[in-house]
């Protein structure tokens, strides 16, 4: 019988408090498992960061839900990605960008197990769902031995496979505030091959909020072109207060300039999927398309 290397214990807590208790025990070596679609293959191939041998399963903590309140959407961290993709809650602009990213994530089969919390906490530079959530100003709720904290997703990632989460903390909920009327968002992903199973060469999301023809807020997020998914804030600032009219040369020129600024904020590397130079060239191409879609959606 083959065994996943070195897994020594598997705990199935029933409450968040119990799970935190397990994570906070001295002799640590505990790590959370949600769907396991990232954690398990990483162990199989003996890649780095797999020194922890006691798994704590979060599937029994009641963290699989999508709820709506007056001013936000609340998503439980253990919600699987197919549930997100098929949720009627996100069928209106600008939240459709969440569905676009969910459908671009891996495959129908994997998405039955892969969770939103796992996608964010593994903090891959390629994480697809991070991008729409960055442009929608998502807030994360984390619980640990010292109680509950909230943090903007924008401040969550600190490096490749590295977040601000302490080993004894759990991401419990993702909150998406309601955006102003006339907001549009889009997610876009460039992959190396035309098969569904591939991480992005470049992935990006944008969100534009328009009032009386003027851009009152712009969000531009990039993935796979830096140590973690991030917002291109110089490009965002450039877009603000600009008059935007769809399908005009003036607006296209503004998008081009913003996309160029965003590319300067990226620091891609060469890897098996693409060279840094190719990634850098693709950023403005993808962002111009994405901004165009977001503008169109904000007006419809």
């Amino acid at each position: 019988m083959r065994n996943t290397p070195d897994i020594k214990e598997f705990h199935r807590p029933k409450t968040v408090t119990e799970a935190i208790g397990l994570l906070s025990q001295q002799d640590n070596g505990t790590v959370l498992i949600a769907g396991g679609t990232d954690l398990l293959p990483r162990r199989q191939s003996g890649r780095t960061g797999v020194t922890k041998n006691k798994l704590v399963d979060i599937s029994g903590l009641g963290l699989n839900y999508i709820r709506e309140t007056q001013d936000a959407f609340l998503i439980g961290a253990a919600t699987d990605i197919n549930t997100l993709a098929s949720s009627p809650v996100f069928k209106t602009s600008p939240y459709t960008a969440i569905i676009e990213a969910a459908l671009a994530h891996s495959t129908l089969t994997l998405r039955n197990r892969a969770t939103l919390g796992g996608n964010l906490c593994n903090a891959s530079p390629h994480a697809d769902l991070a991008l729409p959530l960055l442009v929608l100003d998502a807030v994360l709720v984390m619980e640990g031995p010292h109680g509950q904290k909230t943090i903007n997703l924008d401040n969550f990632f600190i490096g490749p496979h590295c977040t601000v989460l302490e080993p004894s903390e759990i991401l419990t909920e993702i909150r998406i505030p309601r955006m102003p009327e006339k907001s549009g968002a889009n997610f876009i992903k460039l992959t190396r091959q035309h098969t569904a199973i591939d991480m992005a060469v470049v992935n990006a999301a944008t969100c534009l909020s328009i009032k009386n023809g003027i851009c009152i807020s712009a969000r531009i997020a990039l993935g796979s072109v830096g140590p973690h998914p991030f917002r291109a804030k110089k490009a965002e600032a450039f877009m603000e207060n600009k008059t935007l009219v769809k399908n005009t040369l003036q607006t296209a020129a503004l998008f081009q300039e913003a996309a160029g600024l965003a590319a300067k904020e990226a620091s891609p590397i060469d890897d098996i999927r693409a060279t840094a130079a190719y990634r850098k060239e693709m950023i403005p191409v993808l962002l111009q398309q994405s901004l165009g879609k977001s503008l169109e959606r904000s007006l419809s």
Partner: protein
């Protein structure tokens, strides 16, 4: 060892498993359900696809402990006595099988799809098979087989 209770092909089973034991190994080595195949062992090829609580999942990327209290259906559970399931028949009549290594995974992916979408179209079937690699038959015939089975199952349900 950890006690788990799993419904496998309609029968509840209680077993003790290692914490790191993969579901595919439990199925193949403990229950001799060797219809489920291992290809890559890391989520890419889909030969290990089974149904867990009605959804297609990869049994190489699940620990058996994660399946506790759940319902599993494998290729062996599709047949009704000596009668093949319409999906199995369609794979034969459409010549969607050459070496057959990918076939159980494709059929189980198709099975979960038809349950949720009794009238899938071409594009949906392609998405459904996106996690299933085939190195000999190709994809056109498996896609046709799943579409055909869906039609037959629909007709049967109206009988």
């Amino acid at each position: 060892m950890i006690p788990v209770r799993i419904n496998i092909n309609t029968e509840w089973r209680e077993i003790l498993v290692e914490p790191g034991e993969r579901l595919i190994d439990t199925l193949r080595d403990r229950f001799l359900l060797t219809g489920t195949k291992e290809g890559c062992g890391e989520g890419q090829c889909g030969t290990c696809t089974i149904n867990f609580n009605g959804k297609a999942v990869l049994s190489c990327l699940m620990l058996t402990v994660q399946a506790d209290n759940g319902h599993i259906l494998t290729i062996e559970g599709l047949q009704d006595g000596l009668d093949l399931h319409p999906l199995q028949t369609a794979f034969l009549t459409e010549s969607a099988v050459q070496c057959g290594y990918c076939t159980p995974g494709m059929i189980m992916a198709g099975h979960a799809l038809i349950k949720d979408h009794p009238e899938p179209d071409d594009s949906l079937v392609k998405h459904c098979l996106a996690n299933n690699l085939c190195r000999c038959t190709g994809y056109e015939k498996p896609i046709q087989a799943i579409l055909k089975a869906a039609t037959e199952m629909k007709e049967k349900s109206h009988d």
